[in-house]
């Protein structure tokens, strides 16, 4: 039972305690239920900060390991193995940080089946944290697939009018990718006789060298993992589940979906694809860069065409995560660090946008851009926060988005792996296009003459709870935008270690 007291075990499974408590609370006591969930997620946040305080940023290796033999019979070599390093620590913190914020945002928005909602939400947190911490492929796969279940319910029960369709599409789409990864995991497990990532990293070079896994097979394995992660990211052309899921999901679901779940895909590339299949990675880098660039341009262009604010932000995610992919497969220090930071940035800015959109939607029950207009005069606080989030999302210098995108482009320009500065050049266009669609949206909604909704509704500005929900995100937007060095310092040693293993 010693493993229960490991910091990372605590961090991962603490929300389960909240779930257990919630199971015994009467479903009618909604306020109590909300507070239990809130307190649980705050304690989890505290534990994540405790973990962070023990984390040694100068150490590039896995830390705070909780490693115990799990299934060691019948030729299985499976460990319960959690650990954290510079690649994952920020994402772990982001998860712990966004969960209480999302729960706070549901205070008024979710009034039906609150108990079920909170249970699923806390279960989702367990899954997400587990994904970022698991160092054994079997364990990882369990967490990875498990996140689907609560999210499926969150969309399907508390979502919009087409929620059932969106939920099933989300589930099947994501599962389609993961089943290919499952086969690849089993294949690796059979060939290397381990599922544990550090051991695989030791054994695989020999296995590749002696031809047990030939180069073509390595490529197939790479593709199988890519299928799972690319759908999750989502990379163009596998993105079609995302707008549906985002538009139908309740606000808190959208925040977590954009903020954390999509990062599971990019994190997967970082943690598994690149180190496990180094030769295939280098071979595939130009192609991934091509898809990423198409995604950047395509996502931005389609965003511009949206009539629904939430859909606009959803498509902008396709564009932003294109940047992350471009940075990752630049395979140099700038690109990869920029990409990891951009994962966090996207969680902050898109999370804030979804939160704010949700707040106005609670009042008006519409997200059509054209019915708004002139909101700024009526709701200045809402307008200000929306402006900051928008500018952060489009990458204005001084805010977090700029730091990430700039570093990524810098990396992509000089990337040997991509080998063609044109991808970076075209992607830079995406930054400009982001300015176009974001400012277009902002102008239509907040400036100009009052639209029909603005006229007919007695719109209230944000209350204290709502402001409190967004403020923490805004603080980090400025912090990362103005002084990103501490964040890069956390990443640098681990990124360097990751890249030094590549035969570039």
């Amino acid at each position: 039972m010693e493993f229960l007291l490991q910091p990372l075990t605590l961090l991962t499974f603490l929300p389960l305690v909240g779930v257990l408590v919630l199971l015994f609370v009467n479903a009618e006591q909604k306020t109590a239920i909300r507070w239990i969930a809130m307190v649980t997620s705050l304690i989890t946040l505290a534990v994540s900060l405790w973990v962070f305080s023990m984390f040694d940023a100068s150490n590039p290796d896995l830390q705070l390991e909780a490693k115990y033999p799990w299934i060691q019979v019948a030729g299985w070599n499976i460990y319960y193995y959690l650990a954290v390093d510079g690649l994952s620590i920020l994402l772990v913190l982001l998860t712990a940080f966004l969960t209480p914020i999302s729960i706070l945002s549901t205070w008024k928005a979710v009034d039906e089946r609150v108990k079920d909602f909170m249970i699923f939400f806390l279960l989702l947190e367990v899954g997400m944290t587990g994904v970022f911490l698991a160092q054994d492929l079997f364990l990882f796969y369990i967490f990875w697939e498990f996140t689907l279940v609560p999210m499926y319910f969150l969309i399907g029960i508390w979502g919009g009018p087409r929620r059932v369709y969106a939920a099933i599409k989300f589930f099947l789409y994501t599962m389609a990718g993961s089943i290919l990864m499952l086969l690849a995991i089993l294949f690796l497990g059979i060939k290397a006789n381990t599922f544990n990532v550090p051991d695989l990293l030791v054994r695989l070079p020999d296995i590749y060298a002696n031809g047990t896994i030939p180069a073509a097979t390595q490529m197939l394995l790479f593709v199988a993992f890519t299928a799972a992660f690319a759908i999750k990211v989502p990379m163009w052309p596998l993105h079609s589940w995302l707008p549906d899921a985002h538009v139908e999901a309740p606000t808190a679901g959208s925040v977590i979906l954009a903020g954390v779940l999509l990062k599971m895909g990019t994190y997967g590339f970082l943690r598994f694809n690149i180190p496990l299949f180094p030769d295939a990675t280098i071979q595939a880098a130009p192609w991934i860069a091509l898809l990423a660039t198409i995604g950047i341009i395509y996502g931005a262009a389609v965003s511009y065409a949206q009539a629904d604010v939430k859909k606009l932000v959803a498509y902008s995610s396709v564009s932003h995560l294109g940047f992350v992919m471009l940075g990752l497969f630049a395979l140099n220090a700038e690109g990869v660090s920029g990409a990891i930071l951009q994962m966090v940035n996207h969680g902050l800015s898109t999370g804030a946008l979804f939160l704010l959109i949700g707040m106005i939607y609670e009042q008006t029950h519409t997200r059509e851009i054209k019915v708004y207009g002139g909101l700024w005069k009526i709701t200045p606080i809402f307008g200000t926060l929306m402006l900051i989030a928008s500018l952060s999302s489009m990458g204005l210098p001084g805010l977090n988005g700029f730091v990430g995108e700039f570093t990524i482009l810098l990396g992509a320009f000089g990337s040997k792996a991509i080998g063609n500065p044109w991808y970076a050049g075209l992607s830079a266009l995406g930054v400009i296009m982001a300015a176009v669609y974001i400012l277009y949206m902002f102008q239509k909604v907040f400036l100009g003459p009052a639209g029909e909704i603005t006229h007919h509704h007695e719109l209230k500005d944000l209350n204290w709870r709502e402001i409190l929900t967004v403020i923490p995100l805004v603080v980090f937007m400025f912090w990362i935008g103005l002084y990103p060095k501490p964040f890069f310092d956390i990443l640098a040693p681990a990124v360097e270690k990751l890249l030094s293993a590549l035969p570039l």
Binding site: W70, I71, Q72, V73, A74, G75, W76, R113, D116, F138, Y141, I142, F143, E145, F146, L148, V149, Y152, F153, G156, I157, R163, V164, A167, I168, F171, L172, M175, A176, I179, L180, L182, L183, L186, F187, G189, I190
Partner: protein
Amino acid sequence: MTPPTNTDLYTILPYILLTAWTCLLLLVDLFIPKGRKSITAALAALGIAGALGFSVTQIGIEHPGFSGMVALDGFSTFANILLLVSGLFGIALAYGYTKRMDIERGEYYTLLLFSLTGMMLMAQANDLIIVFLALELLSIPLYVLSAIARKLNSEESGVKYFLLGAFASGFVVYGTALIFGATGSTNLSVIFAQAASSSTSSLLLTIGAALMLVGFGFKVAAVPFHMWTPDVYQGAPTSVTAFMAAGAKIAGFVALFRVFTTAFPTISSDMTGILWALSALTMIVGNLVAISQTNIKRMLAYSAIAHAGYILMAFVPYGNNAVAPTAIAAGMFYLVAYAISNFGSWGVVIALEKAEGKGLELDDYAGLAKKYPALAIAMTIFMLSLIGFPPTLGMVGKFYLFRSAMAGGFTGLALIGVVTSLLSAYYYLRVVVNMYMKEGDPEVEREPWLGLTTAITAIATVVVSLVPQFLFLLASTAVLR
């Protein structure tokens, strides 16, 4: 012919106990008044529990008995325990249901026990004659049980099962005859030894083995021998269906595993292709047809067909000595996962079923989560387990099956397996969608034994998936040869 020794008797002790108990129960039941048949149920369960106790003490003991006619080994003990537990679940599900549906008769339980003895004998059979004996012993009571409701659809179910079952038994007998012709023996080990020597006609042997495969394929409901399954599952009383779906499938696979790995490794190169095709067809057809079902019993019937395909998939590389133990262990492990989820999901079906076959449409599950959250959670767990989704036993089991197929080099088959799992997610999730995302006002029967079965199976599905070590260990002792 030497008289049986104590060791001989010991090898089949649980079987003897249960058979004697059942014969006794047949008599005792005559004195139990109508309306007090719960006593029969309790006595039947007691008999099973006793046999289960003896079976557990046989863990780790290996011994041939009756001059090699039967075998006691890790495999048979594992199967016996699984079958006996299935029998307990079968009685728990039947207890309230038969009362409610007005089909409570003492012979229900004795028939169930007789069928169970047949299944146990199948697990220990090491001779084709015993295999046939066991096959008939397990099947005939099931035919009667299917028709026990004496309603039109129940009788149709019984007759259909009987006719097709008899036909399948014919294949097994004919196969046995051909194999005897080829090798001069019905003993599995002798058949293997004879087949390994060059003088044997491998053509005759292969045809014989293929015919046996037809018979077993029928019992486990593999495509294209599955036609009876949806009709029989739908028409039979649901408690019978639940027992049949688990028990007959386990017995069929146990026979297939033992006969093929013991007697037919020499012709594995011929058999592998056939098994491959059977497995692929079963997974594809079972899952595809399940999608269009609107009746939960038919849907679960096609799901049962599909699961036969998954288990067959692991068994395809049975001729490969390095993989065969894994293949069998994976198959047995999955049978456990399947049996547990199976009884749980049929339990939920029974809870919602009304007289006259009402309450069996998928739409009848709408709104279940609001009114009966615990039942809905349990059903969700079973559905996830049948898809093969974590954190359930079905996921661990499928992991094991796919690994076995891939270790045998059948990555293509594993690919078919995962793709059809994706298909299956669609129809299993439809149940979940109805329960959680649609409005409705379902009525549920509350019965203590039913509730207990559902709770135990749901908890086991999740908990055992997190601590599966002991099951892995036990399954890996279930190795043949």
